[in-house]
Amino acid sequence: MAFSRRSLLMGAGSAVPVIAITGCGGSGGGGGGTVTFLVDNNPNNIAASESLIAAFNESQTDYEFTMETRPGGTEGDNLVKTRLSTQDMPDAFSYNSGSLFQAIRPVQNLLDLSDQPWVDRLAESFPDSVSVDGKVYGVPHGGSNSGGVWYHKPTYEELGLEVPLTWDDFIANAEAAKSAGKHGVIQSYGETYTSQFLVLADFHNVATANPDFAEQYTANEVGFADDPTAFRSFEHVEQITKEGLVNEDYVSTTLEQALAYLATGEGAHYPFFASGISEIEANHPDQLEDVGFFALPGDDAATNGLTVWLPNGIYIPGTAENPEAAKAFLAFVASAEGLAAMAEGAQPTGPYMLTDVPLPDDVPTAIRELQTYFDTEGATTPALEFVSPVKGPNLENILIELGTGSIDAKTAAQRYDQDVEKQAQQLGLEGW
């Protein structure tokens, strides 16, 4: 025989490195003066981005921008990481600020934008969420979002209730609504992520009780099970489900059904994002003024305040083919014209992160009223995921276990503290 099986295998082995799979590099931005902006496929973001790109292309003649969409959620996280690691990222892309931003290795993958003129105009709470070691890597993509409680205004008027400033008042209102034959608090475990708001939107209260919570949490010095205020939010989830204040079908209710309960007054309260306004506007346009929004109340009425979700950042990858075009685009995104163009496509869900641009006049009352929190000293706190990179993937399901009575609040809090360990280790944080 010409050669043995062994030599065949050896030959094949040495051939492999030569034909090893290579990344599909270089096709990122496209040529011929067109530049691509990658944005997630949320319908509002698409509408806002279309209108933004059209306005930018009209405002100058040097560059032609086009839009590319990607999935949102964890699928989007993986897509962004994969495209960055294969050097296949378009010249400008929108992605979460805060902890998810930290996970895409900004120093290694992104262009430092600290020298851009818009950096000085950023609202105080934003830059930290897109910065590493004091260097800014992103521009805010549109308005902020908030976590809190939606309520049905006509129900409040009918029952003579007032917007609660403490958790006990909130429970009293929910009980009053329940006695009137409505769902006291709507929950929608059919859309798992919506189970988290009683915990995540409570962070303003946690941070007012312990201003160093985020720092200590990142350093593994404190957790949800051993900080009394943080633990209370787990007890809240247990309380509303145990006391039967929730809608009967809460385990299978979806977000759409939950917002329908709220808009039609079948339910009195729904803890969710302020951005729920766009779904309400789309599905219940006539009830748009029947809904209001308040901050999730804590123990002390005097420190009542709102937990704020900072907008996505728009970033430029280090491998950008046309960084000048991308920088011009980002500057436009930070301008009053750019924000106005986005608002034409989809209205903002909360105040902007640029100090000199006010909200448009035609936003619904519930959103305009949020400005009061932003204008009050110390009444807004960025959500924990923007001030600490530590966030576990299983919070939503742990809270559903808690809410369906499979485990108690203490076990749930401990499990979540254990869950975040993986994220902290993955990021290589100290103290884990």
């Binding site: 025989m1 010409a2 050669f3 099986r5 065949l8 295998l9 094949a12 082995g13 051939a15 492999v16 034909i19 090893a20 799979i21 964890t74 699928e75 996280d77 993986n78 990481k81 994969t82 960055l84 690691s85 996970a103 290795r105 290694q108 993958n109 475990y189 798992t192 079908d249 385990v251 299978s252 993937p393 299983n394 399901n397 742990i398 559903i400 276990e401 808690l402 369906t404 499979s406 499990r415 254990q418 360990e421 993986k422 994220q423 280790q425 993955q426 290589g428």
Partner: protein
């Protein structure tokens, strides 16, 4: 069938062995080792290398951008997850429940559909039809039908005065509900395998039994059941492996919920991948590989032995 083949093999006279060798020499000349190269390369690049790479990455903390070697830390982490015990139990329950039901129902339907009944062809296609439908489609359809208040199943039960269970919304029942759908979808394939096995049993055996005065039960017990054993083994192996690594139907119907009530190993691994714990989820895949091997290899050995003994 296999029994027949193996007797034939045993009957091969010793003198034939020489001829066999001459034939394989000829084969080696006509098809030199070069011919293995394309297939071998494909196998190496797409199967062997990724497999060994995954064993390696299961020992690292991997972020897609870079990796850090951490020994068996991922396995410690994976095996200390509070949800892991639940998901291991769910995996085993799900696999054995669906596999057992497919054997019993598949055999019953196989017997029914090989007997002389009306509309046999139509019934055969009806039983097989669910196998052809996309799993995700089936999952979405049944999720809607199993909705506790608005779903078709519970509204139908309400008409006759029964208050249906909450199916997927009840943590105690969610896994069983998904398993029921899996059985509905998979029983058609088991039935076809059984039908083939039953048809292959020679009619003479039944005639002889009838002459001896055997009733329907003892005919089934003493003739059909032992002679369709190869079909049973095929159904068990296929459905057990399918059940152990089952993911698509569970993900489409409950995503492992409510909470972690219907999580199986595959969905835990998938969620870890989603969360960006690439090293950890690779370690989870290695664990799943070991679990499947641990159950299937002894089972396969036992069934092969039983087959030869026949």
């Amino acid at each position: 069938m296999t029994a027949v083949v193996s007797t034939e093999l045993r009957a091969v006279p010793a003198g034939r062995e020489n001829g066999e060798r001459r034939r394989s020499n000829y084969l080696a000349k006509a098809y030199p080792l070069w011919y293995y190269l394309p297939a071998g390369l494909l196998f190496l690049v797409f199967f062997a290398i990724p497999t060994f790479a995954s064993f390696f990455f299961s020992l690292t903390r991997w972020s897609l951008f870079d990796w850090e070697f951490i020994g068996f830390e991922n396995f410690r982490q994976f095996l200390s997850e509070p949800q892991l015990i639940g998901s291991l139990r769910n995996t085993v329950v799900y696999a054995f429940l669906t596999s057992g039901a497919k054997v019993v129902l598949g055999m019953a339907l196989g017997l029914l559909l090989t007997s002389q009944i009306r509309a046999r062809g139509l019934l055969r296609s009806l039983v097989f039809f669910p196998v052809l439908v996309s799993t995700i489609g089936v999952g979405v359809m049944f999720t809607t039908m199993m909705h506790p208040t608005d779903g078709l199943i519970n509204t139908a039960l309400a008409v006759v005065g029964i208050e249906g269970p909450k199916w997927l919304a009840d943590p105690q029942l969610a896994l069983i509900s998904v398993a029921l759908v899996d059985i509905w979808k998979g029983v058609g394939l088991a039935t076809v395998i059984y039908m083939a096995g039953i048809v292959a049993v020679p009619a003479e055996y039944y005639e002889a039994a009838r002459v001896d005065g055997a009733g329907a039960w003892s005919t089934f017990r003493r003739i059909t059941l032992p002679l369709i054993r190869p079909a049973t083994f095929t159904v068990i192996t296929l459905s057990l492996i399918g059940g152990l690594r089952s993911f698509d139907l569970i993900w489409a119907m409950t995503s492992g919920g409510p909470g972690f009530a219907s999580d199986v190993i595959a969905s835990v691994v998938y969620k870890q991948y989603q969360a960006g714990f690439y090293g950890l989820s690779t370690a989870g895949n290695v664990v799943m590989f070991l679990v499947v091997m641990l159950i299937v290899v002894p089972l396969n050995y036992f069934m092969r032995k039983a087959e030869v003994d026949q």
